[in-house]
């Protein structure tokens, strides 16, 4: 809430004008019955001149009201848009400071929802608050005061009406709360059933379980229908009950005025104004109820955004001058545990790599291969121990120097919509076409890029849907090598390539990037068989290190992996 006020403050003048305009509208709405009362008194007195005067006042006042409502809308929209755009921007800037860990903590999809849906909720509510909510208290309090001034003896009618409305609301909403909770659970279950049937439609069809799934879904859906109707019934009571209470208050007031009219003749002309104020009070209460639901939703969204702003990036880089780092890598007794995990993912890992070496990392799923690689460009910090790149502890160099030295090709190749060239320049902003075709030759992507009409200016569609899995991986490798990095890390990034292309990539890497330290993580032993050294990981521990031939002879973990992959006749 505090943060929100900070944002609103930036649009202080818009919000102020919007509120002022609303106050004018409320004043007009309140003053009309009062003028009506004077008008009726004038009719009783047959006073032509007063009638004309009051008429002009009335019309002038409403024109003022209309102008005010136009201004109110414009200023409200300006404030709402300003707040929303600023909140979105700050959220986005904050996310750009996030580390891998922070992103994973929220999940990318969740962050997107917060920046889109949640910001929209806040925007919508700011708009309606500025358009409506300030008007509600003004109308409520104003009507209350004016009603009491108009017919002071009937104050208790107003109180009675408010108490009855309160009782009806408490009765209905208390019951509704229970059903709303139930509804949420049923809704989630229903959606899950629909989703799993959608994703598993082949399973359902091949097991011929359509009927049983329909029965399961129908049961859940019927329960949802019943709950919906329960809620609907409670809602059905609300409106008629509110109106009945309001209308009976009106009739009651007229009756009471009838009793006192002989002692207080002015009450006769006052009663119409009083009745109008009663109705205004009723509408104010009902509108306030509806607004509350919107505001409570916005508060939830606001909290979700607040979580983004409040997240301290788990990694920060020191502000030190740039430096050139060599391709040497050193792990000193490194232990790493993911937040929330009990067991460490990596335990007491030590090794060192000389510039220009080619290192393979193998191990079963979950052995910690990817985690180890991600520690080199400092995507995470270890819990214990230290990692050095080019002889420097990675925690002591600035982000730019480290990114410059280390190029990381991720397991899941992600390209951005735009052109091929734009994607490749993410690896090297000043890359020329020559640079691109050099890199494409290494990654074996030139054969398909050259066949495209616009070659490097060919478009990349959203989700890179116009490229196959293998092509995406090759483009992603191209982006990774284009800067001729000192260290190249490939995290299972040739899995979608056929054996022949993979071999060609490896040969080209060895030839063209012979001074680059290459770290290759692989499922297949064939991918790393030629490495200078292979690290074998098992449950987070480094259980072997050596060439393929050494490991095949003396490392049991490696032998088992090898056995599952080698050909029959070699067994």
């Amino acid at each position: 809430m505090k943060t929100f006020m900070r944002y609103l403050k930036r649009y202080r003048s818009d919000a102020l004008w919007a509120t002022l305009a609303v106050a004018v509208i409320a004043f007009v709405t309140l003053w009309q019955p009062h003028l009506l009362q004077d008008m009726l008194a004038a009719i009783l007195k047959k006073d032509d001149q007063t009638i004309n005067q009051l008429g002009i006042q009335l019309i002038g006042l409403t024109i003022l009201g209309i102008i005010a409502s136009v201004f109110n809308t414009i200023f409200s929209a300006r404030a709402a848009q300003g707040v929303a755009a600023d909140m979105r921007e700050d959220g986005y800037r904050q996310i750009q400071k996030f580390s891998f860990e922070d992103i994973e903590k929220f999940s990318a999809a969740n962050l997107v929802v917060r920046l889109t849906n949640d910001v929209n909720h806040v925007q919508y509510v700011v708009m309606s608050v500025l358009q409506q909510i300030t008007r509600i208290p003004i109308l409520f309090i104003g009507s209350l005061i004016l009603a009491i001034i108009t017919l002071p003896k009937l104050w208790w009618v107003i109180v009675l009406m408010m108490v009855l409305i309160g009782l009806v609301s408490v009765f209905a909403f208390a019951r509704m709360g229970k059903y709303f909770m139930k509804m949420q659970t049923i809704l989630d279950r229903n959606n899950m059933l629909a989703r799993e049937n959608l994703m598993g439609i082949r399973v359902v069809k091949s097991f011929v379980q359509e009927k049983s799934q329909i029965a399961k879904f129908s049961e859940s859906s019927d329960e949802m229908t019943d709950t919906t109707i329960h809620i609907g019934n409670l809602f059905s009571i609300l409106m008629p009950a509110f109106f009945l209470v309001g209308n009976l208050a009106v009739a009651g007031s007229i009756m009471l005025v009838g009793q006192m009219v002989t002692s207080d003749p002015g009450a006769l002309t006052a009663v119409t104004a009083f009745v109008s104020y009663l109705m205004q009070i009723l509408f104010a209460i009902v509108n306030a109820g509806f607004m509350m639901t919107g505001v409570s939703q916005a508060l939830v969204s606001l909290n979700r955004l607040q979580e983004i702003y409040d997240t301290q990036p788990s990694l920060t880089f020191p502000e030190v001058p740039d430096e050139n780092l060599s391709g040497a890598i050193e792990f000193n007794d490194v232990t790493f545990t993911y937040p929330g995990d009990e067991k460490p993912t990596l335990q007491d890992i030590s090794f060192s790599v000389k510039p220009g070496e080619m290192i393979g990392i193998v191990g079963a799923t979950g052995s910690g291969k990817s985690t180890l690689a991600q520690l080199i460009p400092r995507l995470f910090d270890p819990e214990k121990g230290s990692i050095e790149v080019g002889g420097k502890d990675v925690r002591t160099v600035n982000e730019h120097s480290l990114r410059q030295a280390v190029s990381f090709v991720l397991q899941r190749s992600t390209l951005f919509s735009g052109t091929i060239a734009q994607n490749l320049r993410q690896g090297k902003p000043e890359a020329t076409t020559t640079d691109m075709s050099w890199a494409a030759n290494i990654a074996q992507s030139s054969e398909f890029i050259e066949r495209l009409d616009k070659r490097y200016d060919a478009p990349v569609e959203e989700r890179s849907a116009n490229f196959s899995g293998g092509q995406k991986q090759r483009l992603s490798i191209t982006r990774g090598v284009i800067s001729q990095p000192d260290i190249l890390i490939m995290d299972d990034s040739t899995s979608a390539l056929d054996a022949r292309s993979e071999k060609l990539v490896q040969e080209a890497l060895a030839k063209e990037l012979s001074h680059t330290t290459t770290v290759i993580i692989a499922e297949k032993i064939a991918s790393i068989i030629k490495a200078d050294r292979i690290l074998v990981l098992d449950h987070g521990q480094l259980v072997g290190m050596g060439t393929h031939h050494e490991l095949v002879r003396n490392n049991p973990t490696y032998q088992e992996i090898y056995r599952t992959q080698k050909a029959l006749e070699e067994a």
Partner: protein
């Protein structure tokens, strides 16, 4: 316009059986409206009577004759009208809640039923999110419109008409004054709605682009981090954000201004009626008491007169959304169902084998994937399909249990074309283990018994043992009763695959298809799954598609597919000897030099 027609048909279809309820609602609405528009007359009468009483009373000569009887009777009528009005509203609101709730339920189940009948091609060509949105936002929009709009439309229209009739019966001149501003208001509303629609569409376009950008960037955040691209990413965002800010401002102003403006018009109209009404009363020389009553009545009308117009304009978006929802659900309803031949032959055994003869197939017309594939499978044989990505391996599987139908050629089981067989009998006897096995919410036991819900626990345990997952299940606190769902599962990728194998064993299929069942796991896990698969394959006619050749070396026959054609065929040894495509594939993948 065609949208409107489709929506009309859609609602007619689902609301037809509630005709009586809707008729009652219509009747009650008319009653409620009559009561609502008649009430101000009694209020005016009451005030007039009171004024007359006061005049009589004020004159000492006539004070004795002063009577409040007329006033009291008007007041009592007013109160009864209010009570009946509330009762009528309550009953029709309750009926509508039933109709909206039940008919949406019918739509939801209908959609699910339809989904179970549709062809697989629909699911392959539409995103899950898009189909799911029909269950969530589209059905929500339809429900909201029925629940709120239905009554509002009825009552707004009858209220509007009723009020006009009442006004003209009371006083023609004042009635004309009250309705005079209507054309202005309606034209104003129409202009604003058209403008708002244009700018809101532009706004939605820009928001869509911004959301697309945010989604793409944040999903690819790891690439941004590893390449140090944060500043570029922010710069791109700023451009989109500024655009959205500008276009949303416009959209919000135009769509937000309608309601306050209409309320302003209502106030203005009331002021006009008070002014003109009062002058009129003065000039027409009517009695003060009658004049007072008349003004009171028309103030009540003027205050209510704009309500129907305001409600209808604010319902506009809601109705629009419901029409879109109806169109999107109709789209699904109109999809073709799977074809099941009448009196199809039951599949009982596979004695003579399976033949694919000159099979041609394309997913999209003109883009043929399989160009005349011939494969012969003897009963009990294990046949492996290998070949590069895109060679058509998985397509062959899609044809065997009729997820898709052939363009030409034929597939026969024991000489009977599968088109001639009962679809469900065919599928019951063809078991598939998929690359990405979907588990369903429920217990582990229910998932294993998925294809045979009436199986005994002994059968279930035997299947789990054969699939080598029993021991793991027994380590869980609740064993086979452990609740699982696909999203929140306790299984690793490899164990999930073992579950899917157990599920298939349960149904004891005559033909087994394993579609790249081990491509998502490491090779050590693969070896474990392989052992379970060997248990299922033993003695059964089976098709195995493999990405990694290690899993199919023992096959009775290996069929090599490339670009939709069979290029080599034989067992492992024979194909190696042939020294063709298979041999190259094998050497590249399996032999370490």
């Amino acid at each position: 316009m065609s949208d409107l027609k489709g929506a009309g048909k859609f609602f007619a279809h689902y609301l037809r059986k509630y005709w009586l309820g809707l008729l009652v609602v219509l009747g009650l609405t008319i009653v409620a409206t009559y009561l609502q528009v008649k009430a101000p007359v009694f209020m005016g009468d009451a005030i007039s009577d009171l004024a007359k009483y006061l005049q009589v009373w004020s004159n000492p000569a006539t004070r004795a004759q002063a009577s409040k009887a007329a006033f009291n009777s008007a007041l009592i009528k007013l109160m009864w009208f209010y009570i009946f009005n509330a009762v009528a509203m309550l009953i029709s609101s309750l009926i509508i809640s039933q109709i909206a709730g039940r008919s949406t339920g019918t739509m939801r189940i209908g959609l699910f039923r339809k989904m179970q009948r549709m062809r697989v091609s629909y699911f392959d060509t539409h995103s899950d999110g898009d189909i799911l949105a029909r269950y969530t936002s589209d059905l929500d929009n339809i429900f909201n419109a029925m629940n709120q709009a239905l009554f509002e439309i009825f009552s707004s229209i009858t209220l509007f008409i009723g009020m006009i009739i009442m006004m003209f019966r009371q006083n023609v001149t004042l009635a004309w004054v009250t309705v005079a501003s209507t054309p202005v208001a309606v034209i104003l509303a129409a202009i604003i709605i058209v403008k708002a629609q244009k700018y809101v569409n532009a706004q939605q376009d820009d928001i869509g682009k911004l959301n697309g950008y945010i989604n793409e960037q944040i999903t690819g955040q790891k690439v941004i981090i590893t390449n140090g691209l944060q500043k570029d990413s922010i710069a791109g965002f700023m451009k989109h954000n500024a655009k959205v800010k500008k276009s949303t401002l416009r959209g919000q102003i135009w769509s937000g201004i309608l309601f306050p403006l209409m309320q302003g018009m209502s106030l203005f109209n009331t002021a006009l009626v008070i002014f003109v009404g009062s002058s009129l009363v003065m000039n027409q020389q009517m009695s003060v008491a009658a004049g007072l009553g008349l003004v009171v009545i028309f103030v009540q009308y003027a205050q209510q007169y704009y309500q129907p117009i305001i409600s209808l304009t604010s319902l506009y978006t809601m109705i629009q959304l419901a029409i879109t929802g109806a169109r999107r659900i109709n789209e699904v309803r109109e999809q073709p169902d799977e074809v099941n031949p009448a009196h199809g032959q039951e599949l009982t055994t596979i004695d003579q084998g399976i033949q694919l003869k000159d099979v041609h197939f394309s997913y999209q017309p003109g883009k043929e994937i399989l160009h005349g594939v011939d494969i012969n499978v003897d009963p009990g044989q294990m046949v492996a399909l290998v070949g590069p990505t895109g060679s058509g391996k998985t397509t062959v599987m899609n044809l065997l249990n009729r997820f898709y139908d052939l363009d030409s050629g034929q597939i026969t089981f024991d000489g009977t074309e599968i088109k001639e067989m009962d679809l469900f009998s065919l599928r019951e006897n063809v078991g598939i283990v998929l690359q990405d096995p979907q588990l369903f919410s429920g217990t582990i036991g229910e998932n294993i018994k998925f294809g045979k819900p009436d199986a005994s626990d002994d059968e279930m345990i035997a299947a789990a043992q054969q699939a080598r997952i029993h021991d793991f299940i027994m380590t869980l606190d609740d064993g086979y009763d452990t609740m699982i769902s696909d999203e929140n599962t306790i299984f690793s990728a490899g164990q999930k695959q073992l579950m899917s194998i157990a599920r298939t064993i349960m149904t004891n299929p005559k033909l087994l298809i394993l579609d790249e069942a081990t491509s998502n796991v490491d090779t050590v896990t693969e070896a474990q799954i392989q052992a379970a698969m060997d248990n299922v394959i033993a003695g059964r006619t089976s098709f195995v598609i493999a990405h990694r050749l290690k899993t199919i070396l023992n096959a009775d026959k290996i069929v090599v597919l490339r670009d939709g054609q069979v290029i080599e065929e034989g067992n492992h040894q024979a194909l190696l000897k042939e020294n063709g495509f298979y041999a190259e594939l094998y050497h590249n993948q399996m032999v370490f030099e």
